[in-house]
Amino acid sequence: MANSAAVLDLALVIPTWNDAEGLSRLLRQAADMGCFAEVIVVDDGSDIPIRLPTDAAGMKLLRHDRPRGPGVARNNGLAAVSAPYVLFFDADDLLTAELPDLVADLADELRAGRGFDFCLFRHADSRVTAEERWGQPIWDEDLWQQAGLSVAILQAPPAEVWPVLARTANYPWNKIYRTAFLQDNGIGLGETLVHEDVVLHWLGFLAAERVLVSTRTCAWHRVSRQSGRLTNLCGPERLQIFTPLEQVATAMAAANLAWLQAFAIFALGLVDWNASIIVPPLRIRLRAREADFLRTAMADWPRRLESTDPALARHLTDRMKGVG
């Protein structure tokens, strides 16, 4: 994890699909901020191919002939990154004014000889903005508070609290990653259409040696019920959820109980959320697949968790039986 760089050369990777307007807005914003060494746009098979602005110095455009999903797009973008740090971002979200200060804070860390594998930062969410407030949804704020990370501008929390942080929303765009950390550990996005970010998020926490957390709010995430957005898909693609969950559960085999507890809570919650949005005829299949997944990938977890969290252990056992 040696970092001798005095500045933080940061790449911005943006997958996009049929959102030229959002992309254009984000590219303008990124250019105005002046804190990106390179910008890589991955056009995931838009109906009308994306074109970069004519003054797109430092920008690179990759294109898929057909849509392959945001995970593949981000992975291909990552493969093209030459900067030592990378921020994944969605075309329909916005950067916020605090990002350049965070980049400067991180450059200070490097200058002081304190390298890091990734830095998690706060984000703002349009659902919170709609309530005339600013910030993350309360469920993420609660976890930040539980981890004791609500105040300090930048800190390296002890590894004991990482499992708590890992339970925050598994977004790819609220972290600045060290590019070589991802490449050396073979960490990327999943290739499913939905929840492709679960793998990056959890494996990142599991493999990291040093994680930084900043209370700077650096992204504004727009949640929209607009049709066509992947988040709003409610068909059979939702059954793909178990692919990334299996991948992480397998990687967790040797993890300590705090990690098992965190991931079990997360996985059950994620399946519940999918059950709430999937079309009703597929709900039974989702629950059957969940039971299969738990019995194969997390078979001995109830036994291991029994001493620390008996309620969770019982809950897992029930869900393995398809009840609860």
Partner: protein, 176 residues
């Protein structure tokens, strides 16, 4: 004085804090920057760590070993004359590891010695989630607030009986 002169006079120290980056300082450093300092009851025993992160005002952590009667952050205000000022106030963005209430006042020096404190009506509630707060006073409705004063300060009174971990993410004064 013009509105711009008043605004700049009120916010000069805060502008300085926002623009500068000051790494963590220990207890003995009571002056933050010229015009901003911590002041505590001399009978109290407290440990204080503070910093001024880039783009923010202050982050501070206090530990109370022996409670005292007061502990405050003082910010100098270049506002000797309140004539023609209808409203004087401030907006703040704060966060705290544990919810904490903070009182704010305008302290006006009195010729010959002493001072007068004029408190804003509501407490600031700082909590883990960053939150914004705004308060103002109307000098004409505060007969005890001296219109002329040789010096003035804005004081944030912080807890004296227990420690606090507080971020003052932003703070700005206005006088209109």
């Amino acid at each position: 004085m013009t509105q711009t002169q008043i605004r700049d006079g009120l916010n000069g120290t805060l502008h300085d804090l926002r623009e500068r980056q000051i790494d963590m300082h220990q207890d003995e450093d009571r002056q933050v920057v010229p015009g901003a300092f911590f002041h505590k009851d001399p009978d109290a025993e407290m440990l204080l760590h503070w910093s001024s992160p880039r783009g923010r005002i202050l982050e501070l952590q206090s530990e109370v070993k022996l409670p005292g009667s007061w502990f405050g952050l003082h910010l100098g205000l270049d506002l000797p004359d309140l004539a023609n000022i209808g409203f004087l106030g401030f907006a703040a963005r704060t966060a705290a590891a544990q919810p904490v209430t903070i009182r704010a006042c305008i302290r006006s020096g009195i010729e010959g010695g002493g001072f007068h404190d004029c408190f804003f009506d509501r407490h600031i509630l700082a909590q883990p989630e960053e939150s914004d707060y705004m308060a103002m006073i109307a000098p004409s409705r505060r007969p005890l607030l001296p219109q002329q004063a040789p010096w003035r300060e804005f004081v944030l009174f912080l807890p004296t009986t227990h420690g606090v971990h507080l971020a003052i993410c932003d703070l700005r004064f206005f006088a209109i």
